[in-house]
Each structure stands twice: as structure tokens, then as C-alpha cells.
């Protein structure tokens, strides 16, 4: 996966909705896809317009998250979200203002309101799991 600094600079360089769209499409290709048996109802995030699955695991006190979506742009957004939280402790993740972090990546203005709600549901799952 592209490292988080790289993801950040790619998204921050975007100057329009179109550029952000294209950057997310590019990022979406770096997300490893989940196999069909991992896309269970239990792993599904409620409140997303597109289907989103999250698998959150902890190893040696660090969080490792796998995610997938049926929508390409959402996969790009997931790459951005995971770059913020992957490999951090639960306490660190809980203390982060993820909405603000995504805003710094030009993502809050880009996502339509109902999708933003979907993203908020994802952030909530990640911070409370």
C-alpha cells in the first residue's frame, strides 16, 4: 500500500472536485480487496449508501484494519482513512479527530452529504470497535 505521507500529499495537491475524484480512483486501486467470505453482514458498516465492510484486528496492541466497498470512490476514501489509523493503538485512534483529518485531505467538501454520513459511520466504527 502507498505510504500515508504519499497519500496525504496526493490528496492535498488536489485543487478541484475533479482532481480529488481522479486521485481517489487512483488510490482505490491500491486497496487489497476482501474475499467474498469476509464480506459478511457482521462486517458491514451500517449507514453507508454504498456497501462497506470493515475488519478490525489487534496484534501486539496495534490496530490493523482491512476494508472494502463495492464503490470505487469509497475504496479510495477507505485507503485515505486507513492511512490515518493503520498500525496505531486503539487509544491513539480514539483521540484523533478523524473528520478534521479527512478535511485536511480535501475529502469533506468532496463527499456528498449522504456519503459523508456513510464516512462518519465508518469513522465511528473504527473509533469505537
Amino acid at each position: 500500500m502507498t505510504d500515508s505521507v504519499n497519500i496525504k500529499s496526493q490528496l492535498q495537491a488536489c485543487r478541484s472536485k475533479e482532481e480529488t475524484f481522479k486521485a481517489l480512483v487512483t488510490l482505490s486501486k491500491t486497496l487489497p480487496r476482501l474475499s467474498a467470505e469476509k464480506k459478511t453482514e457482521d462486517n458491514k458498516v451500517k449507514g453507508c449508501e454504498s456497501a462497506v465492510w470493515l475488519i478490525i484486528e489487534e496484534k501486539d496492541g496495534l490496530r490493523h484494519i482491512q476494508a472494502d466497498s463495492d464503490a470505487k470512490l469509497m475504496r479510495g476514501v477507505l485507503v485515505a482513512i486507513l492511512s490515518l489509523v493503520e498500525g496505531k493503538t486503539h487509544e491513539d485512534i480514539q483521540q484523533m479527530d478523524l473528520t478534521a483529518e479527512l478535511g485536511k485531505l480535501n475529502l469533506s467538501s468532496y463527499l456528498t452529504s449522504s456519503r459523508t454520513n456513510g464516512v462518519l459511520a465508518i469513522l465511528k466504527s473504527i473509533q469505537t470497535a
Binding site: 478541484s16 472536485k17 480529488t20 481522479k22 480512483v25 470505487k72 470512490l73 456528498t112
Partner: protein, 181 residues
């Protein structure tokens, strides 16, 4: 109707409205209240509690006035011609599932296999093209059609042929960007 949101018209016959009890209380719907008895106002006031949706009423009236100055059949014919044009252009492209009929409606409804409609929607949005994407409050129909949802472009009388073509161009660009599987 080009009016504001949150406003509509309920048309009812007096004898039917007479039997309706007020469902909400507030200003003007009551004539007299005491500890012993309540007397409601006459129609329509007793069914119109509180401050009305003033700006909505004024906006809706303006929309009615506008429509009354227009040749409605000509508007319909124009909207239908835009939709038929878009249908024929997109149908020719291939790879796009059309759900609306070829002619006779003022909208097109479609999906693209292997491309999520929300992704298409996001690209159209990034290009300033406003459409609807989703199940359009018709989940059983979508299940019957075997799709997660459709993308729907509805035309209004003020849309131009240029805009109809731009919708097609941007949609085709989006498919190009998104369909790499």
C-alpha cells in the same frame, strides 16, 4: 413545479374536511378556549395551526403563475425530446443498461454494469451535472430489476440540448475513468 420545497396543496371537499379533527394545535385554529370547553375555528383555519410556511406559499404561487404563462404541452414536448435524444445517444454507445423507455418520458434512468452508480454520480457532480442516483424510493422494483440502483437524469423545461449532450459526454467520460475491470 419549480416551486420551493416543503410546500404542497391539499385539495378537499368541504363536507369531507368538516369531519377532520385538528391534528395539530396552534394559533388561529381555535376560536375560544376555556377550562370548560374548546371551540375550534372554521375551515380552513382549524386545520392550519400556527404560522404558515409563508415563503413557501409565496414561492409556490410564483411557480403556478410561471407555469400558467407557458404552453404546457410545448414544455412537455421539449422535455420529452431532450430525454429521447439522450436515450438514443446512450443506447447507441452500448454497455449502458437503459431502464426508461425510448420515448414518451422526460427522464432517462440507467445503470452501467461493473460501475457503481454512486461513483458515476460523484463524477457527474464534480463536473457540475446534477442527477439522482439510488433506488428512488423503489427498493422492491430495484430488487426485481436486479440492480442496486439507477442513475436518473430528469429534464426540465429550461434545460437545453447542449446540456443534454453535456450530460452524455460527462457520463461517458465517467464510465471511461471508472470501468477498468
Amino acid at each position: 413545479m419549480y416551486g420551493p420545497t416543503g410546500i404542497g396543496v391539499l385539495y378537499g371537499k368541504n363536507h369531507a374536511l368538516e369531519v377532520l379533527m385538528p391534528y395539530q394545535t396552534g394559533g388561529e385554529m381555535v376560536r375560544h378556549v376555556s377550562h370548560q370547553a374548546t371551540e375550534f375555528n372554521v375551515l380552513p383555519y382549524r386545520l392550519e395551526a400556527g404560522t404558515p410556511h409563508i415563503e413557501g406559499v409565496i414561492g409556490l404561487a410564483a411557480a403556478c403563475d410561471f407555469l400558467n404563462t407557458q404552453d404546457r404541452l410545448a414544455l412537455l414536448a421539449w422535455e420529452q425530446s431532450l430525454a429521447a435524444h439522450v436515450y438514443s445517444r446512450l443506447h447507441k454507445e452500448g454497455g449502458i443498461e437503459m431502464y426508461s423507455p425510448e420515448k414518451g418520458t422526460t427522464l432517462v434512468s440507467l445503470s452501467v454494469p461493473n460501475v457503481h452508480i454512486l461513483d458515476l454520480n460523484a463524477y457527474l457532480d464534480s463536473q457540475g451535472v446534477a442527477v439522482r442516483a439510488g433506488s428512488h424510493c423503489a427498493h422492491p422494483l430495484m430488487a426485481q430489476l436486479g440492480v442496486a440502483g439507477t442513475l436518473r437524469a430528469s429534464f426540465a423545461c429550461y434545460n437545453t440540448m447542449e446540456e443534454a449532450n453535456r450530460f452524455c459526454d460527462v457520463l461517458l467520460e465517467a464510465i471511461d475513468l471508472l470501468n477498468d475491470e
